[in-house]
Amino acid sequence: MSTHSLEDRFQSRVDNEEKIEPRDWMPDAYRKTLVRQISQHAHSEIVGMLPEGNWITRAPSLKRKLALLAKIQDEAGHGLYLYSAAETLGVSRDEMLDQLHTGKAKYSSIFNYPTLTWADIGAIGWLVDGAAIMNQVPLCRASYGPYARAMVRVCKEESFHQRQGYDILLTMCQGSEEQKEMVQDAVNRWWWPSLMMFGPNDDASPNSAQSLKWKIKRFSNDELRQKFVDATVPQAEILGIQLPDPLLQYNEARGHYDFGPIDWEEFFQVVAGNGPCNKERLAARVKAHEEGAWVREAATAYAEKQKNKVVSSASVA
């Protein structure tokens, strides 16, 4: 079969909502797009543990600490599901880790912002996990089987993350004036970067159309961003805090909230490595990897020894 008709057959399978599996024929560009997207997503889950990890030892109660630990442990799991999904496309785990550690691979720029107070942990759960959920739910229907299945698992675990964060903010908002101010400050800092998580505006996102055609994406960046804003505004009202956007207003005619322009210059600066914590995050990952080397080596040596034991006892028998 010619490449052309293979591609037609592939596209018609995608159009029919059939899942593409690892050993099925797929266009090279589809494979490359998936490897890039899934590995970036995996890196984001792993690097995403760092800003929150910063507060584990300072959580205000044992209950909060347990919940935060469980949430962060979930994120490690999400990284693993996604790395595994990417590996089915022929890229190795080492290659991906290497790309992350050498700064070649990207991860979500939101994790390059600092977590200054305990309210930041609440704001991350509410806004950052909230935005992630908005992005991730449609990915459960992505055309690539292993990715879609990984996302189903991820989404099942995510909803507790958002509630965990919202619950922190709700409690603080019912507390002292100082605590409420802390929440407002955290939301002021996390709101705009959260809106940036959906990526550039549609007219500045050249690859989106192809991803939509391949059914990797189901909604455009702007559609998802709008959904997120619409869902989040009423939640902010219940908290009794202001979202830091003077142009935020319900538009009766559209049936959606209008919101102000996003500072894309800031976004591209952070993506380019000039955010407040880019260097710190990468250094922390590299350090963890390097300091874990002896554990990996010891485990390998132990496995080797066990194997030899089995072989020698078998040869005796």
């Binding site: 599996e21 050993r23 799991g77 599901y81 785990r93 990984a150 675990e157 990996r296 485990a299 390998t300």
Partner: protein, 93 residues
């Protein structure tokens, strides 16, 4: 991690059900694969039993053979109970 093989993980979600494939992970040996699978795939009571098998021990059918392998079953409708018409008088079979 270069030397750590990939393991496929299968979980029995409830007593009485089959083990079902849930995902994969790297581990130095099968014991570690079970421990990691327990940590990653059963944090919310998803399972009562775990199987792990090294991925390179799995032989799978070729997707290109799908037609040859599975289409012949399609015209064998006599393999299904609905193929057989029973008299209305017969209430249960």
């Amino acid at each position: 991690m270069k030397d750590w093989p990939l393991y496929e993980v299968f979980i029995r979600s409830k007593n009485g059900l089959n083990h079902k494939h849930v995902g994969s992970l790297h581990a130095a040996d099968p014991q570690m694969a079970i421990q990691n699978a327990r940590d990653v795939y059963t944090r919310r009571n998803e399972g009562v039993s775990i199987w792990v098998v090294e991925a390179n021990h799995i032989t799978s059918s070729n997707p290109d053979d799908a037609e040859a392998l599975y289409d012949p079953a399609m015209d064998k409708i006599y393999r299904h109970p609905t193929f057989y018409e029973l008299p209305d008088a017969l209430k249960h079979m």
